[in-house]
């Protein structure tokens, strides 16, 4: 507790201000869901009512799911996020273990590269990676969506930090039990570093589910679009006139992360806002 207990008036004022600012934060979400429940007639008739007079949710949501390849977009999002996260963990964890617990020539150099990688934003890499993907014939494939993120300097850094805090004796004991170095990474280090793994997974999934910049460059075919790009395509096609289904579409894209966030709030805050103590 950083500040002292508030008097009743101050406590009431605290709730009043926070409820008001919280309501302002939620307006875009509420408006989005509200429009997704209304028929066109009610949307275009000015009015403040949150709930529709005539429920149109079924029509809007089924149009969102059928008029655009939204299920396909969502599936693409799941596939791409899943592939990226698996690759990142498979590649970063062994490297982080080597950096944290083993001696080898070039360790300092590798760590320096990781730090430089941390410094470089992905937008800077977009142009050369676009050319690379073009030369390799990968443009407009799932591989193009996944490739730039196969390794995460942040993941290596985070895992290394966590692995360093695991006592050496545990590594010794695992070796005496005959585990190979790779088995130590998978069966000893990663299970012990679960908090770091979860935090990193949330960070990775949220970043890539929400990413618009790279998919916009990497793919053109509708069958390959992840949700943010898909919703942009849907909006342009409908020319912004068909608000109900468009808002239903937006709601469905935002929903998975929002639901996951509400279910595991602490982990999300740690994964996205953590890093600083």
């Amino acid at each position: 507790m950083s500040l002292r207990r508030l008097g009743p008036v101050a406590a009431l004022a605290r709730h009043a201000v926070l409820l008001a600012s919280g309501a302002l934060m939620l307006i875009p979400f509420v408006w989005m869901v509200s429009l997704s429940l209304k028929p066109p007639g009610e949307i275009f008739r000015a009015g403040f009512s949150l709930l529709p007079e005539q429920w149109y949710a079924v029509e809007n949501y089924s149009r969102a799911l059928t008029a655009s390849p939204l299920p396909r977009y969502m599936l693409n999002g799941v596939l791409v996020c899943g592939a990226i996260l698996s690759l990142q963990i498979a590649i970063c964890a062994p490297a982080a273990y080597a950096l944290a617990k083993l001696r080898f020539f070039g360790r300092e150099g590798l760590f320096t590269l990781v730090l430089i990688g941390l410094l470089i934003p992905h937008e800077v890499l977009a142009l050369p990676l676009f050319i690379l993907a073009y030369k390799l014939g990968l443009l407009d494939t799932y591989a193009a969506l996944i490739m730039p993120f196969a390794v995460s300097p942040f993941g290596i850094f985070l895992f290394r930090q966590f692995f360093k805090s695991i006592p050496d004796d545990i590594v010794h004991a695992a070796r005496l039990d005959g585990l190979s170095e790779l088995a130590i990474v998978w069966r000893v280090m990663l299970p012990m570093a679960m908090p770091a793994v979860i935090a990193f997974s949330i960070f990775s999934i949220v970043s890539h589910w929400n990413d618009l910049f790279w998919p916009l460059i990497a793919v053109r075919s509708e069958q390959l679009m992840p949700p943010p790009l898909g919703i942009m395509a849907f909006k342009n096609e409908e020319a912004g006139s068909d608000y109900g289904p468009l808002m239903a579409c937006a709601t469905l894209v935002v929903a998975p992360l929002v639901v996951a966030f509400l279910a595991a709030q602490r982990w999300f805050v740690e994964g996205l806002g953590g890093g600083v103590k």
């Binding site: 709730h15 429009l35 890499l125 390794v151 010794h172 916009l216 943010p228 935002v254 953590g274």
Partner: protein, 307 residues
Amino acid sequence: MRAVVDIPEATRPVRQRPDTEPIAACLLAAPAFALILLLFILPTLAVFVIATTDWQFGARSLSFVGLRNFAELLADSTFRISFANTCLYVLVVVPATTAIGLAVALLIESGQSLRAFYRAVHFLPFMATLAAMAVAWEALLHPTIGLANQTLTALGLPTANWLRDERTVLPVLGLIGIWQNLGFAMVLFLAGLKSIPSELYDASEIDGADGTFDRLRIVTLPMLGPVTMFVVIVVALRAFQTFDTVKILTQGGPAKASEMLLYTLYVESFEFLRTGYGAAVTVVFLAIVVGLTLLQARVMDKRVHYQ
């Protein structure tokens, strides 16, 4: 952008199998090493090289032009407008996000009840898909049926076509930027508040500072100094990287009033396919980001020394 705090070398590397250990270590580290080189280091170097050429994507030939792309950049009115807009945007979004984030964090921490609820509500926009939320914002800001103009009309205030008016478009994008990043600043401040040792409050009380505002002025705010610096830089980094709202809501318009750096980079590189020129814009963007990140590293360094 993430915080980078190195922990001290508490444990020495394990030396058990001196003969095989280096080989195993190299095998474990090799894939990551190769991919960082291929996907981070070499592309970054390539950007600098491409920026000195007149390459247009798809063209068969290209020639070395030295710094001509950068000279062109400085003379290009679109780039100058874009740079000025981005700076203005950052100068509005960063202080507002930091100040409101701090205020919300202090309010949440000052009481016991509903803490998790308030934190969740304010943090929600930060992790919601911005591309989808931009579509929702467009509906809110719709000139006739949007909630914004309906409310203003009901209050008898003047309305605007927010996203199509040169005077309002950048402030509106700024507002969305603040809305999105506020919760992030709040979370960082909440972590900062938790790390203030309670003995400091006891000590200030003994010294006669027992009012809420005294404690805030004497203990809380000074102790939050380094965190505040950190929040300012991290939010500035995110503000410089604004793209989704520009792409979806305005395409830089009207009359380039919402043209911003990353959008210019995107259009030059991937729509006009002016690869050499786009690389020059990328170099400018990289310089800004690296400058801010190094500043952040220095701030974090100082923080460690304070403690």
